[in-house]
Symmetry: C2
């Protein structure tokens, strides 16, 4: 049985300021929680139905945590999502310093002010699929530990390192020879351009694209061309930020096969 | 000033059954409404703030409709979205028969039971960007005229023909030589496979993929490989349906450049 105090502490985690004070976040859903139990994340508490605990005993043992049995009704009092799942975990926020040089020989994504939780979660899922080494977020990017972001990663949060920092500071700390890619209307056709297997790929804000203070670090401007044949004199103005990320990651990675 | 009867009629359009009875749907947001005014869609009514009407006089003339001036407060009573926009249009649902043979020499998408409104809208936007000729939806796919779908198309609904039909009927009406592509775990690596510039690309349901009754029509099985280097013994299980659509459309179209 959940105490009133537990319910209050967990519900407080829906707000970023409380996540920062408590240094922990909510993760819900069977696949996501199991992925976290298998990862290096530290689980502070696990609330689940007796059925879920019975079916997932091996995974639970990995988390080195004694789960607390609760009813679905109790879970509905602490869920941060629209649909209640049979398991909810409280997970420690890891602390991590960003060392630009540690990304020197890798391909990483840098997100410049991504605001939509669904986009951030989907981008992390794409990074996981395409073997991207890390995701570096501007300080204005939506919080990774927002319950909607955690959910949208579909478990990829357990595998992809995500850091928040000033992108200008991060990019200025890279060696001068380091490739920095960004998408611009006047960029070169990505399908025809030579792409490196290491570097930083900058993804811009949903409405405004890449900001001026970040754009000046870009060494290679890219563009995903439209293949629209016109129609009513117009075509789609842009691709969604996570869709563009997928197309870009696909182009970078297929070349090294 | 909106009458109580107008408010009632418009709010009824949030439900599919009422859209089918009235044969019209709600479109909101300046870019979307302007795209529809420039398209072959017929606008039945236009509700907008005086400021919006003043700034968009040329577009409004194209719609051959006299806009009704309303306040933002009145718009908030009829919006189907979380955020009220300065313009809302009531648009006729066009009637269209699906003729499989008319897609004979084109590249089209066929959606097998896409349930998420955001996914359907994003897929239509991708189809617009990549010059896909049409989107054929199974009868179980979420309704195109759902306000969240209309919104997520970001105006591409004005340019891409979308039809609902039984996919089995549609596919069985195609010539035997017609290519039908689908994504399967056991499919061939899409990056290495030869792809045609015409055919049908089937996109499966978010959880269950392509259904058995549709899979039997597939002539070419594809697979988007993961480039994950592992990590905690696992990687992302799948890509989101709209993200996979983007990667597939990108692969089909870059080859014909």
């Amino acid at each position: 049985m959940l105490s009133g105090n537990q319910v209050k502490t967990i519900n407080a985690l829906k707000l970023k300021k409380n996540r920062e004070i408590q240094r922990q976040f909510i993760a819900e859903g069977s696949k996501l929680v199991i992925d976290l139990l298998y990862s290096s994340y530290h689980i502070n508490a696990l609330y689940a139905t007796p059925e879920w605990i019975g079916m997932n005993a091996a995974s639970v043992r990995l988390g080195k945590i004694i789960p607390q049995q609760v009813t679905e009704k109790e879970l509905s009092r602490i869920t941060a999502l629209n649909t209640t799942s049979p398991v909810l975990a409280i997970v420690s926020i890891p602390s991590a310093e960003v060392q630009p040089l540690s990304f020197n020989n890798k391909l990483v994504l840098a997100l410049d002010d991504i605001r939509d939780p669904g986009n951030l979660g989907t981008i992390i899922r794409i990074a996981d699929w395409y073997g991207i080494s890390a995701v570096i977020c501007s300080e204005t990017t939506v919080d990774l530990y927002n319950p909607k972001v955690v959910q949208a990663t579909m478990g990829s949060i357990a595998r992809i390192p995500v850091h928040y920092t000033s992108l200008a500071d991060f990019l200025s700390g890279l060696p001068a020879t380091h490739k920095v890619y960004g998408s611009f209307l006047e960029g070169e056709n990505i399908y025809a351009k030579e792409l490196s297997d290491k570097g930083v790929i900058i993804i811009g804000n949903e409405s405004n694209g890449i900001s001026g203070s970040v754009a000046k670090f870009v060494t290679d401007k890219l563009h995903i061309p439209s293949f629209s044949t016109g129609g009513f004199g117009e075509h789609a103005e842009s691709l969604n930020a996570s869709v563009a990320t997928a197309v870009i990651c696909s182009e970078f990675k297929r070349r090294i096969m």
